[in-house]
Symmetry: C2
Subunit: 391 residues, 2 copies
């Protein structure tokens, strides 16, 4: 009964799987294939395929960005606030494609898949992925879906890096690039947090050098600590203070009382770490954080972002959040400055929010307005180009 779903939801969605027989050449010089990509689509592709939008996911994201998988689903897809009828990424206007990236753990070929060469799970032998490899795999998906040019490629965080890579490497196949809470490359501090998270996983004896599946074990503790580290950096200090403060979950600070004290923030973080560790693959976590660390937009453009962006033919929307210290507004402003240096059309919005990096997933009036207005223009342009084609 569709009545069960909110009116602004895309409702019931079903993941699809596309198999690719031809191996994909990777940046590391290895080839991966055959492989499969799991993806979802929302909305209808128009006759000229001019209204297609690609959603690129972040570190722990996946293909399920909007709607519900069944009627008992209590939580919709991870970007449901922004994808749906009447929402910025409007399913009444656009045909939206959202995939699980290669190396992921939500259905696309990744470390938990069987390596045909050994008949065992890939585990740590799964090839290292770079952002450009994902983009290349997304190009093949676009080809198979009959999408020659995306009306927009959109992503937050690691997803924004994919969107920018699209703009540089496939300039004729993307009209708009929407880069939210992202950066042209990680800072030393970003890398430091990622490495500490990786060490937490690698130090867990259940990790078994990545072959935990073969050992029927799982590095849950390590992955949980890794997620706790990440989680702190996705929130802002102020936001955390407002939500949790120094409130106690149990125990007492009374003098003369010898009982364990637990702060709310402690149990919250442990709970989040545990939930994540139950549903995510440790090798995928390592692979995704390394892809983040390794991304450097302008590396092969003489480390000159202006030169890099000169290749782009699309228009850009860049969005940052003032309390985001993992991908701070300064990082977005660097993108904007480079785009302006390259004489590209760019809109930039710095949004007030206390939710830190996570803000890109959450409702926020100004963010919604900015996003909505930009996407309305993306749609008008796609119609206009159809009129030109037809006329």
């Amino acid at each position: 009964m569709p009545e069960d779903f909110p009116a602004d939801s895309v409702g019931l969605v079903r993941p699809q799987t596309m198999a690719f027989d031809t191996p994909l050449e990777l940046a590391c010089n290895r080839a991966l294939g055959p492989y499969e990509l799991v993806y979802e689509t929302y909305g209808q592709l128009n006759a000229t395929a001019s209204n297609a939008i690609l959603i690129c996911h972040a570190l722990s994201g996946h293909h399920h960005a909007a709607g519900f998988h069944d009627f008992d689903d209590r939580k919709p897809g991870w970007w449901n606030h922004y994808i749906g009828p009447g929402k910025p990424i409007d399913t009444d206007k656009f045909f939206i494609v959202s995939l699980n990236n290669l190396g992921g753990c939500n259905g696309s070929t990744g470390p938990t898949s069987i390596n045909p060469a050994t008949d065992k799970p890939w585990g740590p032998d799964f090839p290292k992925m770079r952002v450009r490899d994902w983009v290349n795999s997304q190009v093949r998906l676009a080809d198979r879906l009959g999408i020659n040019c995306w009306a927009a490629v959109i992503g937050g965080s690691l997803g924004g890096m994919q969107a920018m890579r699209w703009a540089l490497e496939y300039p004729n196949r993307i009209k708009h690039c929407v880069v939210i809470a992202s950066a042209m490359k990680l800072s030393a501090q970003n890398i430091a947090f990622n490495e500490t998270a990786r060490q937490a996983i690698l130090a867990d004896p259940e990790y078994h050098n990545g072959r935990y599946q073969e050992h029927q074990s799982y590095p849950k503790s390590g992955l949980s600590v890794a997620r706790m580290i990440g989680h702190i950096t996705y929130l802002s200090g102020d936001g955390m203070g407002k939500k949790f403060g120094r409130e106690l979950r149990s125990g007492s600070f009374e003098q003369g009382v010898d009982e364990p004290v637990e702060f709310q923030i402690e149990s919250y973080l442990r709970y989040q770490g545990g939930i994540f560790a139950d549903s995510f693959d440790a090798n995928t976590y390592l692979l995704m954080t390394r892809a983040l660390d390794y991304f450097d937009l302008a590396r092969e453009y003489q480390d000159n972002p202006v030169e890099a962006f000169k290749r782009a033919q699309c228009q850009f929307l860049v969005v940052s959040f003032n309390s985001d210290w993992r991908f701070a507004p300064e990082r977005s402003r660097e993108i904007v400055d480079a785009l302006m240096g390259a004489n590209k059309a760019v809109s930039y919005a710095e949004i007030d929010s206390s939710f830190g990096h996570d803000a890109f997933l959450l409702p926020n009036e100004r963010y919604q307005t900015v996003f909505n207005n930009y996407m309305a223009n993306v749609f008008l342009e796609s119609i206009a180009s159809d009129l030109k084609v037809n006329g």
Copy 2:
């Protein structure tokens, strides 16, 4: 040969041990004792004992704050930049006492000591320590050293919390309180980082519920990850960027090259984590981080810092560093505001530094000047009070 030591060093120092037979009543309602405190002293106590200074250490600190333990020592004590002849804490003027706190792992009674009730190491059964317990133990040490009133109690970070607790609970025994890079209580984010570090230790199977000594094991991996987390938060993002950037230690990002890439920051952090884990006790780390979390200056003063500070009789110097995000200047300004609200004499300096929280340990011209000038006045006052006594 003393010629071997720098002229502005206190030279060779020798730790001393003081045994206390009478148990110390703790905030948790347990009593600890007999116990020992390890401490060092620098400079000469004057006849009226008016020139004594107490140094309180931070999370991973200890009694060895200045000078060298032997002629082969390559590294002096942890605050050698600020303690010595002609330095702010001038050993030609003051008699300086620096101890290892109870629960520590550098010689004072702590989790690695033998619990007389069981004849086994205390391990996780060592009583929970609060900042006030340390202050009470320091009071006893002062009594035994014949110091009725400190010319100053000085501490950075967790040490600053002890200095403030002195000012509130023993107002007649402290003339000056120097609080550097500290806070009246930790934020939710601070607690979150501490809890994640603790989880890294607790998750290490070598931890054995804290009884690793009895198991002849040691949670080195867990403690190393814990330290990595801490270390990131002691540095500033900018400082880390300047020092390490995205420089590689090994490997290459060339396309078509399949070799592991290692950033400088990764190997640096792992190295630091490993060194720390080799020299520190995991149960002490848990105990110290909990003492940090639990400290709340004004808790028993109706959560009103102004009311709390009204008890103080001393003068205050408060220092913060602009790139310190673990104990941000805002936290120091809260201390200053409360002191002013309580009509206390307070000097405040916010120092420019790119070294984050660690800046309190490092050379910095303005910090040195401010500290020096303040301490020069502390000394003049102590002389003046002696003249009054003698006159």
